[in-house]
Amino acid sequence: MGTRFGDRIIKLLSLLFASIIILLIAGIIYELISGSARSLSTFGWRFLVTSTWDPVSKVFGALPFIFGTVVSSFIALCIALPLSMGIAIFLSELAPKKVRVYVSLMIEMLAAVPSIIYGLWGLFVMTPFLQVHVEPFLGRYLGFIPLFQGPPVGVGMLAGGLILSIMIIPTIASITRDIFNTIPTLSKEAGYAIGMTRWEVIAKVVFPQARSGMVGAIMLGFGRALGETMAITMVIGNAPAISASLFSPAYTLSSVIANEFTEATSKIYISSLIELALLLFIISMIFNAIAKLLIRKGRFSA
């Protein structure tokens, strides 16, 4: 009897701890919704489409922040995507085993560097470089495109996108590499046997089989970029502007929370900031959920 009792205890105990996870999520969702109730009822859907953010007259709209978050993450994706694919191909198909181990380790270290350190480096090293060298150059030769117009100030959308891209490369690259590694050697050898080049095998044998997993990895990276806070807060310039130029400062959902939450005085101000957090939570949940599904599917089909 005694042994049965012990068995039941450990099952119950571990079940109890596991339930904490579900309770926590329920609590988080409840708190985010109830915390933003005031803002939700005052502004309704207008919150998402107005661009006034005025704590003094207590009018709040999230549009510039949604714009900043989505655009900076999109820029990050445009830069990170080809590079991550290149790294994943290198690690799974090209590198000799010894090189692979070390390069893998270094890419993983890139993921381990804390976000505040990217921010520090971005603020003191990257943005001055952009301001002095990159942005004037782009402005001079590509200035006819609205993307590259305006004064070069360093901090801004371009800097934000760049720093985010460095941060999501390891995520996308390592998941994609794992998926490439699950592609059976047999199907690759079949490609070589009919005289395909290495690149043709990658493009016509590996890619099609890994497609859903690759899309999943990309979405996961995008989700990470959306929720990133410190690094982007330090380099994006923190001005709620909607501008076509990549040089102009912008503001993201996460940055405005980081900068203003401790200074928020009125209840509606706090509530609006919590609604921004709710928004961020929902957006990243959606991306994460779809990404997880695609990655799992990508692994199963392989």
């Binding site: 049965r4 068995d7 450990i10 099952k11 105990l13 571990s14 079940l15 109890l16 701890f17 596991a18 904490i20 996870i21 579900i22 926590l24 999520i25 609590g27 988080i28 985010l32 080809p82 590079l83 991550s84 694919m85 290149g86 290198f90 090209l94 390069v103 380790l105 890419i107 993983e108 270290m109 890139l110 381990a112 560097v113 804390p114 976000s115 505040i116 350190i117 990217y118 921010g119 520090l120 003191f124 090293v125 690259a173 080049t197 290495r198 690149w199 493009a203 929720g227 806070t229 996460s254 929370i257 980081a258 939450f261 401790t262 957090a277 961020l280 990243s284 949940m285 991306f287 994460n288």
Partner: protein, 281 residues
């Protein structure tokens, strides 16, 4: 494919493979670029005072970040005390009793939790802890970090406990040992190296977090050991000092960043080496 000549195919092949090599080189170069800046700009401020003195007002030379180092350890310690039991026990549940729908729900929710942006975690801890306590506190910071740690530890523990072969469990049960003893003393012990490594990685990960601490642990220019008071941490200190207009504070930010990155990278490398030799993960 027939439309393309052999030469053209070879050129395409070469170009694409070169681009792939190039991106790997670029990725590694970026890592070294960032690390070398941190080392060059940060190392000069590291001396004994840096570890044992309190920050000085701007303009005065010397001083250190003792309060932030202690604070970081306290906050991460609180987070570990909460997250390790919850994570490991949940991991045991998922791997040993986890063949039901409730377990897949827990698994899914742990993944959801893992994807919560860190700044949102800060807001949640603010509402849970700071509002009822009416002040910022080390405890609130620890709870914020524990929310990030729980899902990481849960999923790694589950995975590692699952890797323990069933034959070991069966051997224990065949000797007449009750299941709970098999789990606690045989399975858990077999998986322990891996679990400890997983925990170390989780600690390193949340130890570098800033966003959840901004409005929970907040900040404190003095040495504080009290859990119900605001406390200084290395990451928040980097943020505040980096954004300040004073060059001497910026220098301290670089020094702190150097210390932080050394700790984080050492933990990461050590645990990678550990897992590679032990389990060849």
């Amino acid at each position: 494919m027939n439309s393309m000549s052999y030469l053209k195919r070879r050129i395409v092949n070469r170009t694409m493979l070169l681009l792939s090599y190039g991106s790997a080189v670029l990725g590694v170069a970026v890592l070294f670029l960032i690390l070398s800046y941190i080392v060059v700009k940060g190392m000069s401020s590291i001396n004994l005072d840096f570890f044992i003195k309190l920050p000085k007002p701007t303009g005065e030379t010397g001083g250190g970040i003792a309060n932030a180092i202690v604070g970081s350890f306290i906050v991460v310690g609180i987070a570990s005390v909460i997250a390790i039991p919850v994570g490991v026990m949940s991991g045991i549940y998922l791997s040993e009793f986890g063949k039901n729908r409730f377990a897949s729900l827990v698994r899914y929710f742990a993944d959801v939790m893992n994807g919560i942006p860190s700044i949102v975690t800060g807001i949640v801890a603010y509402v849970f802890v700071v509002v009822p306590m009416h002040r910022f506190s080390a405890l609130a910071g620890g709870i914020a970090l524990s929310i990030m740690m729980i899902p990481i530890i849960t999923r790694t523990s589950e995975e590692l406990i699952r890797m323990v072969p069933d034959t070991i469990r069966e051997a224990g049960l065949a000797l007449g040992i009750p299941q709970w003893k098999v789990i606690m003393f045989v399975v858990l012990r077999t998986a322990s190296t891996g679990i400890v490594t997983g925990i170390m990685l989780a600690v390193a990960r949340v130890g570098g977090e800033t966003a959840p601490l901004l409005f929970t642990a907040f900040n404190n220019s003095f040495m504080s050991l009290r859990l119900d008071q605001p406390i200084s941490t290395m990451t928040v200190l980097i943020y505040n000092y980096a954004s300040s207009p004073y060059p001497d504070w910026n220098t301290i930010a670089w020094g702190t960043a150097f210390l932080l990155i050394v700790i984080v990278l050492i933990v990461n490398i050590v645990s990678k080496v550990f897992t590679n030799t032990k389990y060849s993960l």
